[in-house]
Amino acid sequence: MNATFAVLTRELRLALRSGGGAGLGLAFFLIVVMLIPFGVGPVPHLLAQIAPGTLWIAALLACLLSLDRLFQADFEDGTLDILTLSPMPLEGLVAIKAFAHWLTTGLPLVIAAPILGITLNLPDSAYWWLVTSLAVGTPALSFLGAIGAALTVGIRRGGLLLSLLVLPLYIPTLIFGARCVAAASEGMDVIPAFQLLAGVTLLTLALTPIAAAAALRMHMR
């Protein structure tokens, strides 16, 4: 338990001190959401209609932005080798790192999303579900990202490849998450989409540490 806490604190400290990792993701989120009205036009009812999808896609891209740093630095300076030798299973380490990534990128997005929802004229009924669906869905984004980051660690120019590998894995989460918010804003039943979203997240939390740890071991073999 102490070791878990130590690794988590280290991850958070690194993320917060190195060039404002959390702040960058948030700024990116803000910019993407701001670009949408420029592209679509300042039409309130149109923006209200596309707000759920826009907020979800922007959150997803902001999450993707910081993924390539997840294992890269530790891999390059040998920290990862040392951490692998510790008694903590690599799967656990991956889970902690992905969780720390969520705390520093996913969680700020969840908090900022309703404020940006106002600028997109999101209907009142949708705010609760916007926050809830993002809170439940963004952990899946971080954990799936961990697979992509583990696969591409040590590859030159791996960032673009990482996006190509990870984005298709985001499809179910995006569909169910955005559907949740859209259903809430149209006054329809939210529960089916929400249950499926939660299901995908739970599956991801269970599955990805194993896959990502396997990939990391292959890199270090």
Binding site: L151, L165, L169, A193, L203
Partner: protein
């Protein structure tokens, strides 16, 4: 004598060298007969008019595009469990063939969609799933290209194939949830009520077999090339030392 004997590259080369000409001949034969039969000697369907003739390429390509991913999945699994190099190379060789078949299914579908549904592209669950499948193929091939060490590349792409399979299946159903779609139901089904009538069915079976043998021939040929390329690399390494 077990099937694993053919995991030995030498045995694999000997066997595939022998059967490859036969499979190629079968592919050409089935495709020629099936396509000529289908193209020239089938009537127009009442709801499709003459466009029904596209079924002879669209349906086999689509079926094999999905099954090619299945081949990659199984081959990757065998590599991860038993570490037979031939298996990893089969997975590598299958990807471009599967991607081409996916592209054929998408393009013929789009061309067919224009007169039938009035649009080249519709965000229909089946079309969308194929687009997703296409992206999965691209990512898989890109990962193979990006890693220099052959064994590491085989390992990592196998993990991607595992994870990709899970998420490709989830995406398929997620996409169903997202849009109900216009697409026709299954063309081939064990349920007699559902599938296309016999006039179209018989030539379709032939082109199905033709595409299947074509797929097999290409995968064998490409795997043989990969095995030889691997051998060249090994020899060059020996010379360098």
């Amino acid at each position: 004598m077990s099937i694993w004997e053919y995991a030995n590259p030498v045995r694999f080369m000997r066997l595939t060298g022998k059967v490859l000409p036969w499979i190629t001949a079968l592919a050409i034969g089935c495709l020629a007969v099936g396509l000529i039969w289908g193209f020239f000697f089938t009537p127009e369907a009442e709801n499709f008019g003459s466009t029904v003739k596209i079924i002879y390429i669209h349906v086999p390509a689509a079926t094999l595009a999905i099954n090619a991913w299945g081949v990659m999945f199984v081959a990757s699994l065998i590599w991860l469990i038993r570490r037979h190099h031939v298996s990893a190379l089969v997975a590598k060789a299958t990807a471009p063939v599967g991607m081409t078949l996916t592209l054929i299914a998408l393009i013929t579908g789009a061309i067919w969609g224009e007169p039938m549904w009035g649009t080249y592209w519709e965000w229909d669950p089946r079309l969308t799933s194929f687009m997703v499948l296409f992206i999965f193929y691209l990512g898989y091939m890109a990962l193979w290209e990006a890693i220099d060490e052959p064994d590491k590349a085989a390992d990592l792409t196998s993990v991607l194939a595992m994870v990709g399979t899970v998420f490709a299946v989830i995406s398929r159903y997620a996409v169903n949830f997202w849009n109900q779609g216009l697409h026709q139901g299954a063309s081939l089904s064990l349920d007699k009520e559902e599938h296309v009538s016999d006039v179209y069915y018989q030539p379709l079976l032939l082109t199905m077999a033709g595409f299947f043998f074509l797929f097999m021939a290409l995968v064998f040929l490409r795997t043989r090339t990969e095995i030889r390329a691997r051998r060249i690399k090994a020899l060059q390494l020996q010379e360098a030392n």
